[in-house]
């Protein structure tokens, strides 16, 4: 048998599973059942009757909800197929969802989180019956303290954005405690911090002041100085920002805020490249949060469940949402003491946060230890800069700001030249990347960097993976110059072709549910 030639790294023969599944309602067949539910025992029925006649007549549901009726194998088949049509991190080279820190989620951690001893715990069980999970949460908190330099962590926030919101709530409480809640109504952030760093504080009533970057891409210190005042409640910022640029003067920023009585909150969703290298405390922050579902490897679950682990200094502890988890030397317990503080912020999420996510993060940290976390940071940054250097060799790819220096964790590139040369936009490239089984993310809106492309490899891909990604990008760029039509009309090997997005913004056209689609389609038809 002759050797089968497979030189190219570019996965030109890729095709995503495409099942062309109907919408689940279309699978309905009257009379089919997906699962049978327990019936009350005869003895029980004998005593209480049908159970529903007590419902006041005007509250009885008279017509069944219009749910589909589908047998069990068909429900399973449907969702199995949809899962194959989803490009999870388990199946692709996750480099293209820059700023999302999508990395490897070890399967062992999933297995642990599926144990009955966590899935079947009720949050209100007596403390004596939940010592195991409390121990995990307590210890993970202690790890977080060490990793960040903060003094106390809360896992209540169900994501990074909610953690930002919680940081803003703490700011509000802190200033109220100081009697300055009315005067301090501004929060400063930067344009390359995450939109939630602006939006969440705004919900909490703050006016947002953006700092723009200087020429090198660092937050402009002069502008910052001008912005800080007695109106400043605080500063919430990512570092590195989404550009991958690390602000080396960060301590000067936090010092300045402090000197004006404000608080500093560190958005550490991008902490992956900094583990064991530097911390929130040394950089002068009063608060920070980590996304356990990002840097700490717990899977993203299509967008949660997740945990934004928020840490604060001792001084701010009393504002944290209750309860905290404590250890009295003998047993772990839920500490509600802080509730008594009149300025405590209350709660941000029911109970104590998403416990299985904390468990997975615990297991991940234990599998790595301090040396492993440091390795994570080093390799994440190595991967990022390897990608960076290789891509910068491509003529039409550029990355604004500091040149010749390393970027931490991610880089926001620009394909402006490509667009100028060929008319192929970053959005076009995005679609085309799917034809090779890859994610590709542009950037948050608005596009401060034109035709942006944001890549964040993390420590998860191998050099081979990076090279595949790079070669694929180059391949597409070559296409852009030679046969742009194929990109303009992409994707070709995905589940669906280009979507007519116009309808999604038209109230008369959009179809948010199957029933609404049917109504509107009828109206049209």
């Amino acid at each position: 048998m002759k050797k089968i030639n497979r030189d190219s790294r570019v996965r030109k023969n890729f095709h995503q599973a495409k099942w062309d599944e109907p919408i689940i309602f279309e699978l309905s067949q009257k009379g089919e059942r997906g699962i049978l539910v327990p019936k009350a025992e005869e003895d029980v029925v004998g005593v209480v009757g049908d159970g529903v006649s007590g419902i006041p007549d005007h509250l009885k549901r008279k017509e069944h909800p219009n749910l589909p009726e589908i047998s069990q194998p068909r429900v399973l088949r449907h969702y199995m197929r949809l899962s194959q049509e989803t490009l999870g991190a388990d199946v692709n080279i996750e480099i293209g969802q820059g700023t999302c820190t999508v990395k490897y989620s070890p399967k062992i951690n999933e297995m642990l989180a599926k144990l009955t001893d966590i899935t079947e715990l009720h949050p209100l069980q007596d403390e004596s019956t939940v010592q195991g999970i409390l121990e995990i949460m307590y210890k993970t908190g202690v790890f977080m303290n060490e990793i960040s330099g903060m003094d106390r962590f809360s896992f209540q926030s169900g994501g990074g954005s909610q953690a930002v919101m919680a940081m803003a709530s703490v700011m509000r409480a802190y200033h109220a405690d100081k009697g300055e809640s009315r005067t301090r109504d501004e929060v400063i952030t930067t344009i390359y911090s995450h939109p939630s760093d602006a939006a969440a504080p705004a919900v909490m009533g703050y006016r947002i002041i953006y700092i723009h970057p200087d020429e090198d891409g660092y937050p402009d210190f002069e502008a910052f100085k001008a912005a800080v005042s007695e109106r400043t409640a605080g500063f919430i910022v990512a570092n590195p920002e989404d550009t991958g640029v690390y602000n080396p003067r960060v301590k000067e920023f936090t010092d300045l805020i402090h000197s004006h009585g404000g608080l500093c909150g560190y958005d550490q969703a991008n902490a992956n490249g900094l583990f064991g290298v530097t911390r929130a405390r040394e950089a002068g922050f009063d608060m920070c949060f980590f996304n356990l579902h990002k840097s700490f490897s717990t899977p993203h679950g299509c967008g949660g469940p997740a945990v934004g682990a928020m840490g604060v200094t001792k001084e701010l502890e009393k504002y944290l949402p209750a309860p905290l988890i404590d250890y009295d030397g003998d047993k772990y317990y839920l500490n509600y003491d802080i509730c008594r503080d009149p300025f405590n912020i209350g709660k941000v999420r029911m109970f104590y946060g998403v416990a299985p996510v904390v468990l997975k993060a615990y297991a991940w940290i234990m599998a790595l230890g301090a040396e492993g976390l440091y390795e994570v940071a080093k390799v994440a940054v190595l991967n990022n800069n390897y990608l960076f250097r290789k891509l910068m060799e491509v003529d039409c790819i550029d990355a604004p700001y500091i040149k010749g220096k390393q970027r931490v964790e991610q880089v926001r590139y620009t394909l402006q030249k490509l667009a100028e040369d060929t008319g192929i936009t970053t959005g076009d490239v995005q679609r085309r990347m799917m034809d090779f089984g890859m994610h590709y993310w542009t950037s948050h809106h608005p596009y401060y960097i034109p035709e942006p492309m944001t890549l964040e490899p993390t420590e998860a891909p191998s050099k081979e993976d990076l090279d595949e990604y790079i070669e694929t990008l180059k391949y597409i760029i070559k296409e852009a110059y030679e046969s742009p039509e194929i990109i303009k009309t992409a994707p070709h090997r995905s589940v669906c072709h280009q979507v007519d997005e116009r309808t999604l913004d038209e109230p008369d056209e959009w179809a948010i549910s199957w029933r609404s689609y049917l109504k509107k389609a009828k109206d049209k038809g």
Binding site: Q16, I24, F25, G34, V37, V48, G51, V52, H58, L59, R61, H64, P65, L67, P68, E69, I70, S83, E85, T86, I108, E120, H122, P123, Q125, D126, Q131, E135, G158, G160, S196, A199, V203, H293, P299, C302, K347, R349, M350, F351, V354, A363, A367, L368, E371, L373, Y374, L382, R389, V408, R431, H445, E459, K463, C496, H497, I512, S513, R515, Y517
Partner: protein, 467 residues
């Protein structure tokens, strides 16, 4: 350098020193330390962090974690009657199967071209919950009922331009605290009292508090204390009379037998998906949903992502995408969009969709009926115990009910402690959050309780109470 890395780690492909050398060379660096030259020495760590020794072998790691978790005792091996915002329902195997599928589990924010299945599954979840609540619009889930309720009120506030919301005094204190924090500083939550006898919202008090300033009248069905709120129509009408919105929080598992709030005047419906196929997870299974009519004024106020269907360039193909994306904080307007959005609980949304697809209309009706029969049986059975009132309130209950221990001479705390010794988790002690009730506990009975379980509880209580 005092700081060491962990080489050749299974989770980190490029932790191989030879590969690192090759890559460093490619980027013109000499060593890994140079990668962080931008971080000033002053704020750099000088030593490895103080964390426990790594447990690098998967076997030992597993054993380590399992040994800790074994210190828990759970609701499967024991008999649980706790509810109060997190409920033990049966989770069909397929729900776990689907949400464990690596593709769903590890997907995140891809485009519809990457994550078509994620978009379709969430569109279907929206559609299924839409049928359950009889509304046309449902969001990609938010954090939990509390967050959903808070956002519903913020939406109502934006729609009406008003800054007060009425909420029931009988609601869960923690949920109230979430809403309060989220609505601060600008929206004020005003509590409305309940009827002493029935627990129903006190309509007189409501009338006294509702006004032209009211953005929303928020109530729950069933109430936190478990009974069916019967005056939904009156409450909604009253709200509408003041041009306020009627916002109703609902436990979706009731909706096979109970009318959806949309049918008694609700403008916005919210609630928790956890009962629909999601494990309790020590409180990690919560997932909030919000539903409205398909009207622009509502849709444009959602902060959440909403997935919609759309045609593609190819005839016969379904496509999906974000509806009115620009209203969110991910859109061009950032903090001028609606509140904020971020990672929330999408996987639970998909799971709830799977659950509803399995259950169908019949399953939802039957489970509602079974639960009501079993909880009524429990109330009656507990009533037979001298000194115990199976239900404090004179209202129809769904799955939860307030058991009155006032006449037993024992505190709920004492009773629960004794029950625990018999491997029974008694109902939530209401004495601190509802001092007016004295020694009462909120019990939860669902389809997972067999008659023998309820009888076992009753027998245990009889023993504990020495009757």
């Amino acid at each position: 350098m005092a700081i060491k890395g962990f080489k050749n780690h299974p989770y980190i492909p490029n932790s191989v020193p030879e590969v690192q050398k090759e890559m460093l060379k490619a980027i013109g660096l000499n060593n890994l330390e140079e990668l962080h030259e931008e971080v000033p020495e002053a704020i750099k760590l000088k030593d490895n962090m103080k964390l426990p020794e790594a447990i690098p072998s998967e076997y030992e790691l597993r054993r380590h974690v399992e040994e800790i978790l074994k210190k828990n005792i759970n609701c499967k091996d024991n008999l649980n009657f706790l509810g109060a915002g997190c409920w033990q329902h049966y989770v069909p195997a397929i729900c776990d199967e689907i949400n464990s599928r690596g593709e769903f589990l590890t997907a995140y924010g891809g485009e519809p071209y990457n994550d078509f299945g994620r978009f379709q599954a969430l569109f279907e979840y929206e559609s299924l919950v839409g049928e359950l609540v009889d509304m046309d619009v449902v969001n990609v889930p938010t954090m939990d009922w509390g967050q959903a309720a808070a956002t519903s009120i913020r939406m109502a506030s934006r729609i009406t331009g008003r800054k007060e919301a009425l909420v029931p005094k009988s609601m869960d204190k923690d949920r109230f605290l979430i809403m309060k924090n989220y609505c601060a500083p600008d929206i004020q939550l005003i509590q409305v009292d309940y009827e002493k006898e029935t627990g129903q919202l006190n309509l007189e008090d409501l009338k006294g508090k509702i006004s032209e300033k009211t953005a929303a009248a928020y109530f729950e069905n069933p109430s936190f204390l478990g009974f069916i709120e019967e005056n939904g129509r009156q409450i909604s009408d009253l709200a509408h009379r003041f041009s306020a919105l009627s916002v109703v929080g609902v436990d979706p598992i009731t909706l096979g037998v109970l009318k959806p709030p949309s049918q008694y005047g609700a403008d916005i419906i919210c609630g928790d998906l956890q009962p629909l196929g999601i494990h309790m997870n020590y409180g990690g299974g919560q997932s909030g949903f919000i539903a409205t009519r398909d009207e622009e004024k509502y849709v444009m106020e959602f902060p959440s992502r909403i997935f919609g269907m759309a045609p593609t360039g190819v005839e016969g193909e379904y496509g999906f995408g974000d509806v009115a994306f620009d209203r969110t904080s991910f859109g061009h307007h950032r903090e001028h969009g609606k509140e904020y959005v971020g990672t929330q609980t999408a996987l639970w949304g998909i799971t709830a969709g799977v659950y509803l697809a399995l259950m169908g209309p019949k399953g939802m009706e039957e489970i509602g009926q079974t639960i009501m029969q079993k909880s009524q049986y429990a109330v009656m059975r507990l009533n037979q115990i001298a000194g115990v009132e199976g239900s404090f309130f004179n209202s129809v209950n769904f799955k939860e009910f307030v058991v009155d221990f006032n006449k037993t001479g024992k505190t709920v705390k004492e009773i629960n402690k004794k029950l625990l010794q018999k491997n029974i988790f008694g109902g939530k002690d209401l004495s601190s959050n509802f001092p007016e009730l004295g020694q009462c506990a909120l019990y939860c009975v669902t389809e997972i309780h067999l008659k023998t379980d309820i009888d076992r509880l009753a027998a245990a209580l009889e023993e504990v109470l020495n009757v």
